[in-house]
Every structure is written in structure tokens, then in C-alpha cells.
């Protein structure tokens, strides 16, 4: 059997329910990620997405099961896994640049000061913050902070990037801009990314596959949905792809109608689905076939 880059096997998390019993948040979570894949996970609030991500990060421990990356079991946090937290988690007494320098120094302790600085500046530039190098987080807007946080994670070039709702606290406009930036950086670096989101459009824009989680307690990763849209993608044009709509309809239907009852395969691995299989094999549709509502949607999102 060929081993995947990341293998998650039989993960579950049990908390005491406060009345002497136990509460199984999720159980028997199994999935694999390949090198260079971008995978989003969607599920209703409280089903345990953050917990799974924290277990992958090594910040939390699962009640059962294990995580193997590159053939090595994950036990505790490590530099080969970078995390972008929902609340940015920048060190407030350091400037934007020094927050990144801090991470880069930790990653490559032998580098010279100049090299560290140059490398850090390059990543800040990548997220369009070269004008705000010397500002403290408190002097940055929410969107700018999240950019610093993303730059920090990419700058250490981890083998696996873990993003927990990185844009959750941002307004729609800012969110769109940073999504574009994330797409751009990812096209450049092709890092393996595991990301939590609540936003179906965001998931389609970014991912190769989307994991769908059923509702808790006893939540599972029920399905793994392939996003059959070629890279590079752009927020402004992705609506023109018919595969986009098929995929979106499928995801929304799952979240609205089926997340309560959906189950994975008998062996516990997520069901693999390709909602856009037919359309992606026919030739891409011209812009003329666009409906009015799509044009409107694009105008809003542009």
C-alpha cells in the first residue's frame, strides 16, 4: 500500500459531558492528504473541526487514533506544521516584521540576521504589507493582521499548513482580497494546506478537495468532494466555470439537507464524490451562457 503524505487514522475526541457521562465530539476520523494538496473542511459549528486541526498541529491530543506525517507519528507541535489561528495570534509587543523574524529565526537558527530579515520582508511583501513593516499589530486593521499571520506561516515553509477559519473575522471585501492573495501565494509555493472554513465559495475557490463533516456529536468526515476546476483560479472568473455551480449546489445540499445523517464508507474513509464529473469532461463553457444572477454575483464579488 502506498503511503500518503499525511494519514489520519481513527481519530476521536471524547469530553466529559458534565453530568458524569461522556460526550463523543467526533469519532473514527480517517483521511489522507497528498503532498501539494489544498483541502478545506466544512461542517456545522461545534462538530469538531478546530479540534481536528489542533490535533494535526499537535496542540491538542485526540482520545484515540493517530496522525502520521511523512511516515512519522505526530506527537506535539513542530515547525514542519505551520498554523494560522483564527484570532491571528501575533505577538502584540513585536512589529509586523519582527513577528515574522521571530518565526524565521526559530525555523532557521543558523541564518544570519540579514538573511532572516530579507526573507521575512519578502513574505510581508507577498501579502502587500511592505509599507507596514514597523507597525505593531495594534496599529494594523484586522485584515492586515491576518495577512501578517499568513505571511508568518508561509515564511517558515512548513510541509503542512493548517488554517483555522483564517478569514472568519473579516468583512466580505477584505476577505475577498486576502483570498486572492492566498491563491497567489499558494500558486507560487504549492504547499500542502488543510483549512477550516464556513464559506462554501471560499472552499471551492481554494481547494482541490473539500471534506464534509456530519453534525456532532459523533461527527464523521462523511464525504470528500473533488473540486474539478483547473488552477490557476481567480475569484472574478471562477463563476464562469460550470463545474463551480455543480460543486456549489452539491455542497449546499449536503450542509442544508444531509449533514445530519450522512455517513462515510463502511471502512470509515470519506466517500469520494465528483459532483462536476460530467461538466468538467465536456469543454469549458463560453461566458455567454452565464445567467443574470451570476453576473450580479460577480459584480458583488469583484
Amino acid at each position: 500500500m502506498s503511503k500518503s503524505f499525511l494519514e489520519v487514522d481513527g481519530l476521536s475526541k471524547v469530553y466529559p459531558d458534565g453530568q458524569g457521562g461522556e460526550l463523543t465530539v467526533f469519532e473514527d476520523i480517517r483521511f489522507a492528504l497528498e503532498k501539494g494538496e489544498f483541502v478545506c473542511i466544512i461542517g456545522h459549528s461545534g462538530c469538531g473541526k478546530s479540534t481536528i486541526l489542533n490535533v494535526l498541529a499537535g496542540l491538542d491530543e485526540a482520545s484515540a487514533g493517530n496522525v502520521v506525517m511523512n511516515g512519522k507519528e505526530v506527537k506535539g507541535p513542530g515547525l514542519e506544521r505551520g498554523v494560522v489561528f483564527q484570532n491571528y495570534s501575533l505577538l502584540p509587543w513585536k512589529t509586523a516584521l519582527n513577528n515574522i523574524v521571530f518565526a524565521v529565526q526559530a525555523r532557521w537558527p543558523k541564518w544570519s540576521k540579514e538573511k532572516v530579515k530579507e526573507h521575512s520582508e519578502r513574505y510581508l511583501k507577498m501579502v502587500g504589507l511592505d509599507h507596514a513593516l514597523n507597525r505593531k499589530p495594534s496599529q494594523l486593521s484586522g485584515g492586515m493582521r491576518q495577512r501578517v499571520s499568513i505571511a508568518r506561516a508561509f515564511a517558515t515553509q512548513p510541509e503542512l499548513l493548517l488554517l483555522d477559519e483564517p478569514f472568519g473575522a473579516l468583512d466580505a471585501l477584505t476577505r475577498g482580497v486576502i483570498q486572492d492573495e492566498l491563491v497567489k501565494i499558494w500558486e507560487e509555493t504549492r504547499q500542502t494546506v488543510f483549512m477550516i472554513t464556513h464559506d462554501v465559495d471560499e472552499a471551492i475557490l481554494l481547494s482541490d478537495r473539500i471534506f464534509l463533516m456530519s453534525n456532532g456529536p459523533n461527527a464523521r468526515i462523511a464525504e470528500s468532494v473533488k473540486v474539478d476546476i483547473p488552477h490557476p483560479r481567480a475569484r472574478a472568473t471562477i463563476f464562469q466555470n460550470p463545474a463551480y455551480h455543480k460543486t456549489r449546489d452539491y455542497l449546499v445540499d449536503f450542509l442544508v439537507n444531509r449533514s445530519g445523517s450522512a455517513l462515510p464508507e463502511k471502512d470509515g474513509s470519506p466517500k469520494f464524490v465528483e459532483p462536476a464529473r460530467d461538466v468538467s469532461q465536456s469543454k469549458p463553457v463560453s461566458a455567454g451562457s452565464e445567467t443574470e444572477s451570476e453576473t450580479a454575483a460577480r459584480a458583488v464579488n469583484a
Binding site: N87, S89, W93, F102, A106, K136
Partner: protein, 275 residues
């Protein structure tokens, strides 16, 4: 219209003039023996010396003292500068010693719930003890009045620093600790690069409280052990019935205390951060 600062300064100065004026008037020497108040008659009349001196006399004395603060004319006649220097030296020595213990122990207690639980009962019992209550024991064990005064400063300034350090360290946001963890920082690097700067404002608050307490206590301690220092000086001048000197040194105690607090306040500003 003048700025708030200017108006406040004007008001401050007028208050000062008013207070000094009232004080000056209240302490005019009685005219011959005619106008004795009831109180003075009870006291059997008063002598010039035992009356509260007017501000003019205090200012004159202050001028003389401050123009030569470091003269040394024997055990009982040293300049105010020398006396203050003795006190500041004792306060800083005791304070630094307390810091050297309070910061590491505070870190330990803050980071380890086990150590917190184990040490907390002792801290709770020792903390409310008046620092001067230690004096007899210190004198007996250390056998040296100067070192005993320093010990009293040590014991009184250790608690706020210790407790604030522990509190600050224990309450560092888990997110920041997680940042350190995901970057594989060892315990020492985490303590220095993340926890220390995160807890620094709380620690500095403790240090500022400590220096204030230390300065309050040194006056009392020096009154007890005698010899040198501003506390001894105040007491000595009281015994000499030189009230102008007493008032002058009270003011100097206030000024030095304010300077110490100002210095710590500046340090506090340096480590502050906004989230």
C-alpha cells in the same frame, strides 16, 4: 484660551501660595505675652522653638541644606543628601535582592500549578506580616543594624513582585504560548521571548508597588535602627525639637519617593503593549 496644562499649573501654584500664606499667618509668633490662646495658657506659654515654624523658616532652612547637601560634620550632623543617599542605597539593595528572588520564583509559581499550590500557603501567611515585625528577629540573627534594615526592605518588597510575576506569567494568553509551541521554542526561549514580554506589564506593576512600599518602610526602619538615613534624620531632628528640619525632611521624603515612582513608571511605559 490657555491649554489644560497651563491652567492646571496656574491653579496648582495658586493653591500652593494660598496654603503657604495660611500656614505663615497661622504660625506668626504671639505678640509679647498679651495674646495667649487658651491652649497656650494651658501649655504654660510657648517658646519660640516648640511652635510649628512658618514656611519662610522652612524655606530658608531648605535653601541652606540644599546648597550644601553632602557635608559631613560627624555622626549627628550630616547633610540631607548623605542621609537620603543612605536610605536610597538601603532601599535599592533590599529591593534588588527581592527582585532577584521574586522574579524567578514568581515565574516558577506562575508556570507550574503544582508549585503554586505548594507555595501559596506560605506566601499567604508571610505576606500580611508587617515588615517591621521582622526587625527584632533580623537584628538578633544578622547582628547588624544596617543589614537588618536592608533585610526589612527585602521582605516587604518581595511580595508584590512575587505575586504579580506569578499572576502575569500564569495569565499569558494561551494563543501566544501556542505560537511558541508551534515554533518549537524550548522552555527557556519561550520564557524569555514570549512569556516575559507578555507578562512584563504586570510584573512592572508589582515592581512599582514594591518600590513604593519599600520607601514607606525604610523611614520607619531607620527610625528604629538609627545611625544614618532619612528616617533617623527625621527622628533625630524631632529629638532636637528642630521642627523646621523635620518638615523639610518630610518634604524630601516625598520628593524622593515621587522620583522612585516616576522611574518605575517610565520603565512600565517601556514594556507596555496594546493588544
Amino acid at each position: 484660551m490657555a491649554s489644560l496644562n497651563v491652567r492646571a499649573a496656574l491653579l496648582s501654584v495658586s493653591f500652593l501660595i494660598l496654603a503657604l500664606g495660611l500656614w505663615e499667618m497661622a504660625t506668626q509668633p504671639p505678640e509679647a505675652q498679651t495674646g495667649l490662646t487658651e491652649y497656650e495658657m494651658l501649655m504654660g506659654g510657648v517658646e519660640q522653638e516648640s511652635r510649628v515654624p512658618p514656611p519662610s523658616a522652612v524655606i530658608k532652612l531648605a535653601w541652606a541644606e540644599l546648597s550644601d547637601p553632602f557635608y559631613d560634620a560627624g555622626a549627628n550632623d550630616k547633610g540631607i543628601g548623605i542621609q537620603l543617599a543612605y536610605s536610597v542605597y538601603r532601599v535599592l539593595t533590599g529591593y534588588l535582592a527581592a527582585m532577584a528572588i521574586a522574579l524567578p520564583v514568581g515565574f516558577l509559581i506562575g508556570m507550574s500549578p503544582l508549585m503554586y499550590k505548594a507555595l501559596n500557603p506560605y506566601i499567604q501567611v508571610l505576606r500580611p506580616i508587617s515588615p517591621l515585625a521582622w526587625m527584632p528577629l533580623a537584628l538578633f540573627i544578622i547582628q547588624d543594624s544596617d543589614a537588618s534594615a536592608i533585610f526589612v526592605i527585602f521582605i516587604c518588597s518581595i511580595w508584590p513582585m512575587l505575586l504579580n510575576t506569578a499572576f502575569g506569567v500564569a495569565n499569558v494568553r494561551q494563543d501566544w504560548v501556542n505560537v511558541a509551541r508551534t515554533h518549537e521554542l524550548g522552555p527557556l526561549r519561550t520564557a524569555i521571548t514570549v512569556i516575559l514580554p507578555a507578562a512584563a506589564p504586570t510584573i512592572l506593576t508589582g515592581m512599582r508597588i514594591s518600590i513604593g512600599i519599600a520607601w514607606l518602610v525604610i523611614v520607619a526602619a531607620e527610625m528604629l535602627v538609627g545611625g544614618t538615613g532619612i528616617g533617623y534624620y527625621v527622628w533625630n531632628e524631632w529629638n532636637n525639637l528642630d521642627l523646621a528640619s523635620v518638615i523639610f525632611s518630610i518634604l524630601m521624603i516625598g520628593v524622593v519617593g515621587m522620583l522612585l515612582d516616576l522611574a518605575l513608571g517610565k520603565a512600565q511605559k517601556l514594556v507596555e503593549y496594546k493588544e
